[in-house]
């Protein structure tokens, strides 16, 4: 499945380049203001950044932040839910005006879309189950165990570049999951010994599973998170960046972080 998605993204890239040559340089910002609404993609399956509440409505750190950004742009906010893998292609293909879904800056992604200024900075963490008897004092120690990670994430990239490519971690000992919580299930079942993930959702996971504990946390791969914007659209980027800086200066984003990340 993952391979097919990669192939699809490659084909989309080719398509985007072909179509991109012909398109005229009008800003998506004009389109948003004319329509009076902004169409924003998210993958609402990544608590606490974006998920559904008990009533089935989207909620979370990114969701509330985007609602405030749209309010300050003076336009209505239209959410489009899509799996994480599809979001960048949808912005590149003009299907969405922007995407917010705990995106990290990534050189590959930057070739087909743009990134806003970072609106928050997160850390990575290693989590184990209570049965774990080993020790992890430095991130490289994880290479001595069976490791799980969400496929296609920056953590996957960090593990692949720093542990697998260097020969520290045999490829067979790295399990890639479509979703973090599937990996958490395997961690509880003992199929993997260490799970690497984004520190904030990992904390939420640990809070819900008393059997799990964090053994290491620090900035390895993740760092800043940004909004994904159409490629080369400077007017839209300027507007979004302006609002992000405004919200940071007012302390709005820190308040949101406390609300969603300190469960």
């Amino acid at each position: 499945m993952k391979k097919y998605l990669l192939l699809a993204v490659a084909l989309v890239l080719v398509g985007a380049i072909l179509v991109g040559c012909a398109s005229e340089p009008t800003s998506v910002l004009d389109k948003i203001q004319k329509a009076g609404k902004v169409s924003v993609g998210t993958s609402a399956d990544y608590p606490p950044y974006e998920y559904l509440d008990d009533a089935g409505n989207k909620t979370g750190f990114d969701i509330e932040l985007m609602a405030e950004i749209a309010r300050r742009m003076g336009v209505e906010l239209e959410w489009v839910d899509m799996p994480f893998d599809s979001l960048v292609a949808a912005v590149a293909g003009g299907k969405l005006d922007m995407s917010i879904s705990c995106f990290n800056y990534d050189e590959e992604r930057d070739k087909i879309v743009d990134f806003s200024e970072a609106y928050y900075t997160t850390e990575d963490a290693f989590v184990v189950s209570s049965a774990f008897a080993g020790t992890i004092t430095a991130p490289e120690d994880a290479a001595n165990y069976k490791v799980g990670v969400q496929s296609g994430t920056v953590q996957d990239g960090w593990l692949t570049d720093n542990l697998v490519a260097t020969g520290l971690l045999p490829e067979a000992n790295l399990s890639r999951y479509e979703r973090v919580d599937q990996a958490a299930l395997d961690l509880a079942n003992g199929r993997i010994e260490v799970l690497m993930g984004d520190y904030v959702p990992i904390q939420a996971l640990v809070a819900q599973n008393p059997d799990l504990r964090v053994v290491y946390n620090g900035v390895l791969s993740t760092g800043p998170i940004n909004i994904v914007l159409p490629d080369g659209d400077t007017a839209l980027k300027a507007e979004v960046d302006r609002i992000i800086k405004e919200l940071q200066a007012e302390g709005f984003i820190d308040q949101l972080a406390v609300k969603y990340f300190s469960e």
Partner: protein, 214 residues
């Protein structure tokens, strides 16, 4: 949350699952039947083209075609995720349905076509009134298999963000962290849909069967 709530949240995606199927399956049947007739009766060149069509679309994973149509081709035309998904699945299914119909048409003895021509029917009349009615009956069992596959393949439109059964199961699974329950609910709904469809088609097969030709 209990199983009932999961079922009702995920179940409300059934409308979209059924909708996608009801577009993809008939679209595939229409295209597939026309192409199958061209394949069998259209001469060597047509047969070669149809063979290529069948090979290409059976060789591409449906989800890849879905991405191409939604993200690359429909950049200019404003095709919604629902329609892009349904039509892609219809095209993929048409290749399989073409093979089903072709097989069924070829199973009707060629002598019948000759006999029909001999009593004065035109070629078109003979195909429409003699060959096709028998072929339809022969095609029902493999076609009900294809129907079940299209119902299940409709879950692929989740990749474009259509909130059908699978995507809703993922969403409620993530928010409640009860994945097993969420996917079990989805499995139950898919199972009911497929078994209901298969039963219906079995019934149809019996109703239409030719007594002398069991």
């Amino acid at each position: 949350m209990d199983f009932g709530q999961f079922l009702s949240y995920i179940g409300s995606g059934t409308v979209l699952t059924v909708g996608v199927t009801l577009i993809a399956l008939p679209a595939g049947l229409l295209i597939g039947t026309l192409l199958a007739l061209l394949y069998v009766y259209g001469g060597k060149v047509a047969a070669r083209i149809m063979n290529l069509y069948s090979t290409v679309f059976r060789g591409i994973p449906p989800v890849v075609l879905l991405f191409i149509l939604f993200f690359a081709v429909s950049k200019g035309i404003n095709l919604s995720a629902f329609w892009a998904g349904s039509l892609s699945l219809g095209v993929v299914s048409s290749a399989y349905q073409m093979e089903i119909v072709r097989g069924a048409v070829l199973s009707v003895s060629g002598d019948q076509l000759m006999a029909a021509r001999a009593v004065g029917l035109s070629r078109m009349q003979a195909i429409r009134n003699v060959v096709l009615p028998q072929a339809v009956r022969l095609a029902i069992p493999p076609w009900s298999n294809e129907a079940a596959i299209v119902i299940k393949d409709s879950s692929l439109v989740y990749a474009l963000g259509v909130p059908e059964i699978l995507r809703r199961a993922q969403l409620i699974g993530a928010s409640s962290r009860q994945y097993l329950l969420a996917y079990l609910s989805a499995a139950v709904i898919y199972f009911l849909l497929v078994s209901l469809t298969t039963r219906l088609l079995n019934h149809l097969e019996h109703k239409l069967s030719i007594p002398s030709n069991p």
